[in-house]
């Protein structure tokens, strides 16, 4: 086979990745553009309406497109997810990298990979059928499907990534720091909390950001387990609807080209932008940490 042909294919494939991500952004934005450029669409749905107060009622005689309830829902669910998953993941990462015998680490790695391999639709099913009843029993809440339920299942979904990245960060701290601390008469936990963890903080921060990004973008779990009611409330046991689930729930019924359609694509663009920024930041943090430790 001609070298030229092969090398062309190789370069084309590499470029395909770049083109791919650009296309994703462009074509999601394209369908969303009417809310920024088309006056007729903008009468119903525009930036002011999105970020102003009001309910989310796209399907009604007087359509209302305020994101506020969706943002509140996303915030609540993500808060529960991060609040439950991050401490557990980081503590477990501390255990396997600082305290545990090697056997424990070898056991946990495949378990975490197993958890990572569970499709989110299965986690959503679990939350809907099993977890919701348990949560309702414990909290005695009115709605069976709510932010707490979805948040817990979201927590399961982000556990693997937060654990893996945190553990990598902790193990990247040079052994010499640990040895120096222990040789000074610091106890193992003092070493872990006063030397290793601070040295790894950038990596752990990156892990949390990746977790948040994953929680924000996750759709199936929230779709199945949160109740999908676009309410604004502070209670975690109320049903919520998030940005991502809104797209999934409403796109099927929407008329192509309508303001509702464009709005849903706009939400998609928003999600893309948010997760993009989080990923870039996380990448910068990891680089920063690597450089700082390499300088030692």
């Amino acid at each position: 086979m001609g070298d030229r042909v092969a090398e062309f294919a190789i370069a084309a494939s590499a470029l395909a990745t770049v083109i791919g991500i650009v296309l994703v952004f462009v074509f999601v934005l394209r369908e969303a553009l009417p809310v920024l450029t088309n006056p007729e669409v903008m009468r119903e749905a525009n930036l002011g309406k999105f970020f102003g107060p009001g309910p989310w009622q796209p399907v009604s005689d007087l359509p209302r497109y305020a994101f506020a309830p969706l943002l509140v829902g996303m915030f609540k669910a993500t808060l529960v997810a991060v609040g439950t998953a991050v401490p557990i993941a980081v503590l477990a990462a501390l255990y396997t990298s600082e305290f545990a015998p090697r056997a424990a680490r070898e056991l946990l790695k495949p378990v975490v990979e197993l958890l990572a391999g569970i499709p989110s639709v299965v986690l959503g099913f679990f939350a809907l059928i099993v977890l919701a009843s348990v949560v309702q029993g414990v909290t005695g809440s009115q709605s069976r499907l709510n932010a707490l339920n979805a948040g817990l299942a979201l927590g399961f979904a982000i556990l693997p990534v937060v654990y893996s990245v945190s553990e990598d960060a902790l193990r990247a701290v040079p052994r010499s720091y640990r040895e120096a601390a222990l040789a000074l008469g610091a106890s193992p936990w003092q070493t872990a909390f006063r030397v290793t963890l601070p040295a790894a903080w950038a990596g752990i921060f990156a892990a949390v950001m990746l977790g948040v990004g994953r929680a924000v973008g996750e759709t199936m779990i929230v779709l199945m387990a949160s109740g999908n009611a676009a309410l604004v409330s502070l209670s975690l046991t109320d049903s919520v609807r998030t940005l991502s689930a809104t797209i999934a729930a409403e796109l099927a019924e929407v008329v192509v080209g309508s303001p509702h359609y464009a709005t849903l694509f706009f939400i998609g663009t928003l999600l893309f932008a948010v997760t993009f920024v989080l990923n870039v930041l996380a990448g910068l943090m990891v680089d920063h940490m690597r450089r700082r430790l390499a300088g030692a």
């Binding site: 590499a14 770049v18 993941a89 990979e113 569970i118 299965v122 199936m220």
Partner: protein, 330 residues
């Protein structure tokens, strides 16, 4: 020298104030030991909690579904308005979907990884751009891929093809082709990363040997590097299949359907799919009690499939890593 004298003075004098030594009382040492036990316990419990989560989820699925999953279940069609029977079309649809996906993603992913590892210069802006693109592609939410599939493949490409070929609505609608291509883009990073890992494992000596014989770079890659990297590439392929079978959001609007009286035989057909089936059955079942066993069964089949694939990939990867030490014996 004044400094040395100062040092010697300090060394000679007894230290004023409490020596740190005095802080090391037995009581304090016991407290330290206590803290150690506490923190080891807390972190150990966190680890155990993760294991518990996995065990409980898997356990409920297995316990709830093992009775349903019989060979008939796997090979029969759904009956009685989807409240009984089997899930064969969903299994078939899933297989067809990932098959199409693999055809699309594997060549592009492998070649892109070849570019990154064999051809690219680390400092070139193009390389950095490609790496950036791969990293960020991996972070895009799956629903956004779904939107992209709808907006680009179905609306733009599909409609465009229909118009160009003078057809009515053939390509410009949800179809297994578009769903597969959407999944292919979603899984591109998975294949690229796994292939790169495989390429890295091929020892430099193998490459140098080929080049020293006068082979071109592509010949070296094709005849020496890629064959040795094959197991790693396979790992990436298996992982992408596993992910492709499990992701539902990207196919919600690009071709998945709940009930179809036919199996997908053409790229423009819609299809039933395991994950989508779980979603609909769980949220929109007409008779929850009757369909619950079906739901559990479908979930079990889906989980079984993804785990079997993941285990194979992990096993392969472990085998490759163990065999790396022998790579140099040519």
């Amino acid at each position: 020298m004044a400094i040395r004298q100062a040092a010697l003075d300090v060394l000679a004098r007894p230290a004023p104030g409490p020596s740190p030594r005095e802080f090391a009382t037995p009581r304090r040492r016991a407290a330290q030991a206590g803290w150690n036990v506490l923190w080891t316990g807390v972190t150990g419990l966190a680890t155990l909690w993760i294991v518990l989560i996995v065990v409980v989820i898997l356990g409920t699925v297995v316990l709830g579904g093992w009775r349903t999953v019989t060979p008939t279940f796997l090979f029969k069609n759904p009956e009685q308005g989807m409240t009984a029977g089997g899930i064969f079309p969903a299994i078939f649809g899933t297989c067809a979907l990932v098959f199409l996906m693999i055809i699309a993603v594997l060549p592009v992913g492998v070649l892109a990884a070849v570019y990154l590892h064999e051809y690219a210069r680390a400092s070139s802006p193009l390389t950095k751009l490609v790496r950036f693109a791969v990293n960020n592609l991996a972070g895009v939410p799956s629903i956004v891929f779904g939107l992209f599939g709808l907006g680009f493949f179905v609306q733009f490409l599909g409609r465009g093809m229909d118009r160009a070929m003078g057809l009515d609505v053939v390509f410009g609608q949800p179809a297994i082709l578009w769903a597969a291509l959407t999944l292919a883009l979603l899984n591109l990073p998975v294949v690229i990363v796994a292939t790169e890992e495989a390429l890295r494992a091929v020892p430099r000596t193998a490459r140098e040997g080929a080049l020293a014989l006068g082979a071109t770079r592509w010949q070296m890659v094709r005849h020496v590097v890629l064959p040795q990297a094959l197991p790693g590439v396979l790992t990436g392929a298996i992982l992408s299949v596993s992910r492709g079978a499990g992701e539902v959001a990207p196919i919600l609007f690009t071709g998945a359907a709940y009930y179809l009286p036919y199996l997908p035989t053409s790229p423009t057909d819609q299809f039933m799919e395991l994950g989508y089936h779980v979603y609909v059955l769980a949220t929109q079942s007409p008779d929850v009690e009757r369909t619950l066993p079906l739901l559990y069964g479908t979930v079990l089949v889906l989980l079984g499939l993804t785990f079997a694939l993941n285990f194979t990939a992990i096993f392969l990867r472990a085998k490759i890593r163990r065999g790396m030490g022998l790579g140099d014996t040519a």
